[in-house]
Symmetry: C2
Subunit: 335 residues, 2 copies
């Protein structure tokens, strides 16, 4: 198996990325294609023992910078490392692509080069975002901000595959995020989605409210990416604000190390990137994995491991099958 790695993506690229890729080549016994400036890549590789490993370099001078609008970058930097790496997957020269670069860039690359699975117009992003509810996957978290009710059903199917494959939950429960528990509560989108989900043959348990998210009342919570994005970003900042407050309130009352441990734990628990560390872009016609921008070699190595698992276990194929099955049931339900 061959994994294409965006050698220039991430806050600690290229050194930690190359180190992580070397580690992954040995740990997971995968071949690696490092995409980036040849001189830089080879100089980083020379720092490690690569004996017996199959690591090649594909040269490009261009790469994306944090904050660069991805669609713009696609036009201005068509040879950026993340695009070249994704192109390798498209051309069948690699089985998956992993990047710690800006998520928008990975999404743009996946969207334009690999395309999406039938019924999706954009990749789906999501996952467990709160350590207090580690077995709850919420999606979409920002990629799809204008959703038709049917798209929420599609997210439910993605979430089901996600929870099965990534959390090992056999028959994940699915809920719809709304403003009241009862059927009929919600905005027009939620009301329609409720009916579709009820008839979908999925393991739908009804609506959940904002109250229910931290309690993990369902394994999969579906919402449109507008709501999901706001909740996740809000969680991250609220975690920080509470930590700052705790530091002030407790600095004269609690052992310094314990206080540092508590706030560090709480920050991780409320920060999706720190907690989940990244994952595959769902609904893409191929395996494209986003690693956390701040990741160092060990985390990047794990991200490659996850990409390998996604290829081996054919997450893309599984998703397509589940989609076909659910859509079939939906048609029967409607007829």
């Amino acid at each position: 198996m061959k994994i294409a790695v965006d050698g220039m993506g991430g806050d600690f690229a290229p050194s930690e990325i190359v180190m992580g890729a070397v580690e992954a080549a040995r740990t997971y016994k995968v071949d690696i294609v490092l995409v980036g400036p040849r001189g830089l890549m080879e100089s980083e590789l020379s720092k490690h023992d690569c004996s017996g490993l199959n690591i090649e370099v594909v040269h490009t001078d261009q790469y994306l910078l944090e904050g660069e609008p991805p669609a713009f970058a696609l036009r201005r930097k068509p040879e950026a490392s993340v695009f070249i790496a994704t192109k390798l997957v498209k051309e069948g020269k690699a089985d998956a692509i992993v990047s710690a670069g800006p998520t928008g860039g990975v999404v743009a690359a996946a969207l334009y080069m690999l395309g999406t699975v039938s019924g999706f117009t954009r990749p789906v992003v999501g996952g467990a975002f709160l350590r207090f509810a580690p077995n709850t996957v919420m999606l979409d978290l920002g990629s799809n901000v204008d959703c038709k009710p049917q798209e929420l059903v599609d997210f439910a199917i993605v979430g089901t595959v996600y929870a099965k494959k990534m959390l090992g939950i056999e028959n994940p429960t699915i809920a719809l995020l709304s403003v009241g528990a009862e059927e009929g509560k919600g905005n027009a989108q939620a009301k329609e989605a409720y009916t579709l989900l009820k008839n979908s043959g999925l393991n739908f348990i009804g609506n959940v409210e904002g109250y229910d998210i931290p309690l993990g009342k369902a394994n999969v919570i579906v919402c449109d990416g507008f709501v999901g994005n706001i909740v996740v970003k809000f969680t991250e900042q609220l975690g920080k604000v509470i930590c700052n407050w705790l530091e002030q309130e407790l600095k004269d009352h609690l052992d310094r190390d314990k206080l540092a441990a508590i706030t560090s734990e709480l920050l991780k628990a409320t920060n999706v990137a720190d907690f989940a560390g990244g994952g595959p872009l769902w609904a893409v016609n191929g395996v494209a994995c986003v690693a956390h921008g701040r990741c160092k070699a060990p985390e990047f190595c794990k991200a490659i491991g996850q990409a390998k698992l996604a290829v081996e276990e054919d997450w893309v194929g599984t998703l397509k099958l589940e989609l076909d099955a659910a859509r079939g049931k939906l048609k029967i339900g409607q007829s």
Copy 2:
């Protein structure tokens, strides 16, 4: 000035409600109409010194219970205390109504008896909901779940009056809740609302993201009630979950009283009802104030004080003027 009080609304009704009303009559020099079963009301009144106070009782046997669907209750219990009390305002027999009963009941009473200000189909609920951002009013928080972009502009105007009158902020800044800071980020609703807000003549500072809510980046944050409701309920539960976690983590490391104080503070800071305690329903054609269901006499007394202020300072008239002014500017901006 005469305030109609729902004598049967609230977890501690009628005793704490009647006590609070007596206190308010003396403190704020207002006349009170207590609505509820006459025997019960008079027996509660007899426990207090009411000399020199103008407190009358309007009898009704019916009252709403927590959890009763309000629309249903309106048909089944047309004589419920909250409806009778609101009717007194409608008929000009009282200047405002205050209830600690179920919010849905107060909303239904206000909607059906007082009606809404032009351009609104439902009352607007909102307020400062996070003590970490005490000068940030967010609205709508659940009353309006399907919003046209223009409604978000209307919420901005309500929020401006709210921040001026209730927080004493002279020229409140207004922001639109979205998924990115730049113009053009967001779903279709947010994009359209952005353009309307930019041309509204209001003190609009652009989009804020989920990250920005706890930082209080704007005095008024507008969103549709679907998003707002989810964020506020999520906040409440996340606060509880973090408190439980802190109790476990710190019980062997921190003085018991200090730990109790910290968790109690954090619960209040993240619980909109505990923090804000209630307030007027906005966009209603009259003054209808919701007090917190768990309030006791001192808080209920304050809620009556707030209702008095709303009448004296003519919040309803101010809102209508601001709406007319903003709509005038919007027309000029569009021409």
